[in-house]
Amino acid sequence: MQKHVYMPDLARVVEIREETARSRSLIIAPEKEAIVCEAGQFIELTVFGHGEFPVSVADVFDEGAHRFMVTIQEIGKVTREVSRLRQGSQIGIRGPFGHGFPLEVFKGWDVHIVAGGVGLSAVWLLLKQLMKNREKYGRLNLLHGARTPSDMIYRDELSVMADRANINVALTVDRGESGWAGRVGLVTELLRGDMINPDKSVAVVCGPGVMMKATIVELEKLGVPQDRIYLSLERRMQCGMGACGHCMIGPKRVCLDGPVFPLSEIGNLQESSL
């Protein structure tokens, strides 16, 4: 056996974008094969000498994804080590794993994306793909909230996107800062009835647990049915392939059955906190 499922492929960090004080985006070039990735899937990223963690693929560049991007927030022992990586550093990647967003199902529907904090990175590739085939979908809304303006990732791209006519971008922060002329408040306050026709809408939610919970409540109030509310969930998947058991929610394994789930599939599970 030359190689096995737990051995990563080597890849290089070709560019680093500092997003906020606690998060950065890595543009990664696999050394051998390009990754083939659906929007919403994740990879396992190894910082050699420290460990491995799951992270969403936030963007792919070039035809065939010879370079792709992940955005990492320093939140634990291994992700903190990402700050030591520099251009040219060699890392390990496994995957991509899991199921992404069902783009086929979204065709013809209004799509409302609600993202909180670094959760935006898990829906970013989806957003790019929706924009690329813009005519196939109905109205497109991106509602994004961050803790403060300086905690907001992808700010430049967001402001470019906000100027486009074919997407409505609404941003908010929990706490303002000097220079922030935008809205202050919870992301759920951006959800308005006149924006959402529940009979024509699918919603996508990704962010911290409390934010997702509150957003689901609002979406349900607006009449969006559970099977059209898609969630991208975070768990500490270690194997990524359905065996290690860390990402279970009741009978579901987030790494295999998710990380994207319609709420109808997991909302009523005994262990669901949603």
Partner: protein, 348 residues
């Protein structure tokens, strides 16, 4: 495939010699060191037939520790400025292994692990490589121990599949059944004799006697149906309150398979190994997510998760219940929690 042969006790060393020609033979033995006060054999190398504990009742760790070892080295790495060198550390798996004298419950447990690690949606090629080089020679029990309930879980005392060969001790000889072509080929050796009706009758009698000394059957369907509606029931409290969250049941369980992947490095972290270690859903940090939030922060949730997984979730995914009634969890629980008592409550 349906071959049934007789092996005289006096010929058993010849059989072992043949097995050892191509493989390492592992089985229940007390000849492998370990603590003198500990009365159960452990699964280790069988050098001569006399090392094998033919009449053993149970072991602390099941053969899981051979097919899916704790602390498995997966690969090594060396970081040199901007270059990393990787080395596959699973090459040693290229040896043939015979598991000799595995009881029916443990055979059933290996079938569970097979379904999990060699699933069509996911294949652990490290496990698959090891499994592909493993021959299973089972042994039906002559006498169960006090915690056994394989009959309730449909995993014993007889086995109908999952083995290459299955032996039953008839006193001065073994009746050996082949379960696979690989097993049948082994029975071609000259020292195996044809089995007769009397041998088969005697085997039946022994199995029936074991069956009679096992606990009364339970209505599994009723138990699992009740679990669907009793997640929030008070019945869990007495067990969860007693549980110490020590994970002993996870370790000794022959079907518990959850694991963590971690790095062991030198102090400057330029050299290390990626290692697979057994993990336990009873540990609070097992279900930790970003921000150190524990999804199953309550002991009660963890206690239930383990049993719901085995009895409800795994059957949905792998089409078989992930408890084989080996009784190890009860035997080694420091809080003396007995799964049979839980099942009795659930059957009410």
């Amino acid at each position: 495939m349906n071959a049934e042969k007789i092996l005289l006790h006096s010929d058993s060393q010849k059989f072992l010699d043949d097995l050892q020609r191509n493989a390492e033979v592992l089985g229940p033995t007390r000849k492998a060191g370990g603590t003198s006060s500990y009365s159960n054999p452990i699964f280790a190398a069988i050098k001569k037939w006399g090392d094998l504990e033919i009449g053993y009742k149970s072991s602390m760790l099941s053969p899981k520790k051979i097919l899916f070892p704790d602390n498995q080295d997966l690969y090594g790495y060396q970081v040199e400025t901007d270059t990393v060198r990787l080395e596959n550390l699973t090459a040693h798996l290229d040896r043939e292994v015979v598991l000799l004298g595995i009881h029916s419950c443990d055979i059933a447990a290996i079938s569970c692990l097979d379904r999990l690690f060699m699933h069509d949606r996911y294949r652990d090629d490290v496990y698959a490589a090891r499994r592909g080089k493993t021959t299973i020679i089972g042994l039906t029990c002559s006498e169960p121990h006090e915690q056994c309930f394989c009959n309730i879980m449909g995993a014993g005392p007889d086995a109908s599949s999952g083995y290459d060969l299955l032996m039953t001790d008839l006193g001065d000889r073994f009746l050996i059944k082949a379960g696979t072509k690989k097993g049948a080929d082994l029975l071609e050796a000259g020292y195996f004799k044809e089995a007769g009706d009397e041998d088969r009758r005697q085997r039946e009698k022994i199995i029936r006697k074991v069956e009679e000394s096992l606990p009364a059957k339970k209505d599994l369907k009723r138990i699992t149906n009740n679990m669907l509606v009793k997640y929030d029931d008070d019945l869990w409290k007495e067990f969860a309150d007693a549980c110490r969250s020590c994970g002993a049941c996870n370790m000794v369980c022959p079907t518990c398979h959850c694991f963590a992947i971690m790095d062991k490095t030198n102090p400057d972290r330029t050299k290390g190994r990626r290692v697979l270690v057994w993990d336990a859903c009873h540990f609070e940090r097992f279900s930790q997510i970003a921000g150190n939030i524990s999804v199953r922060g309550e002991k009660n949730q963890r206690y239930k998760h383990r049993l719901y997984d085995k009895l409800l979730y795994d059957p949905q995914r792998y089409d078989t219940i992930f408890c084989v009634g080996c009784g190890r969890c009860a035997e080694f629980c420091p809080a003396h929690i007995n799964l049979l008592a839980v099942l009795a409550k659930l059957e009410e």
